[in-house]
């Protein structure tokens, strides 16, 4: 679960940085990832379908593989600028630091886990 959350927050960081970089692009709509809860996890595991390449001559899909977690477009933005841009910089910044904290939390969890393994291996000696 901690590893999943790491993956998820890394991917979310990417999506948020796209939003922030495009904060002045006309007609840009902000994206976000679906929040990581059990329901969404179960759904995404079930709906993962990919085309199989049965022959070496088959072309790989041209679009780079999107991450394992689903990206959604903000449907009801808080505000949109006159040029059709829907990125709210403040919102994105808070989401960014939130994601960073979650990432650090997961890292700490993994660290604790490793420590426990270390203790267990020491006990054998």
């Amino acid at each position: 679960m901690a590893k999943m959350r790491l993956d998820w927050s890394a991917q979310r960081q990417k999506v948020l940085s796209e939003n922030i970089a495009n904060a002045d692009t006309p007609n840009y709509r902000s994206h976000d990832l679906k929040s990581l809860n059990f329901k969404n996890l179960a759904m995404s595991e079930a709906s993962k379908v990919a085309m199989v390449r049965t022959d070496a001559g088959h072309l790989a899909p041209g679009i780079p593989e999107p991450g394992p977690y689903r990206e959604v477009t903000e449907r009801f933005p808080y505000e949109s600028a006159a040029d059709g841009n829907e990125v709210v910089l403040e919102e994105q910044m808070s989401a960014l630091s939130d994601t960073k904290n979650q990432y650090n939390l997961s890292i700490e969890l993994v660290k604790k886990h490793l420590n426990m393994i270390k203790i267990a291996t020491r006990a054998g000696r």
Binding site: A10, Q13, K14, S17, E18, A21, D24, T25
Partner: protein, 137 residues
Amino acid sequence: MDELKQTAAIATSGLKAQTERLRTIAQNMANADSMAERQGEDPYRRRVVTFKSVMDREVGAEMVRTGRVREDMSAFTRKYDPSHPGADAEGYVLAPNVNPMVEMMDMREAQRSYEANLNVITATREMTRNTLELLRS
């Protein structure tokens, strides 16, 4: 390319785009008094940077690029200065359509966006550093 690297690449593209914008603003400000040199000629025309989001295949994400630098086609202002070589019969010279207030606002906006992108890079760096810390424990 992992996601944190992609994040840094995207934020860097944002930084570059905002720098380009700031450069154009500086050009406008510097030329705010470049009047028409001779009668019938046009003075300096304000330039505007356009942004667009581009799918970068190498990075695998939507980056931001500056599009063509376009000219602002709004009307020139007129200034009364009979001694100027570019003055017409009534003593008016065509002055650039640069409004220093608008440019200042634009500059502040570019600055804020630049800072936001910089914050993204800082956050990403911290995340990467914490990941590397795992090796040390």
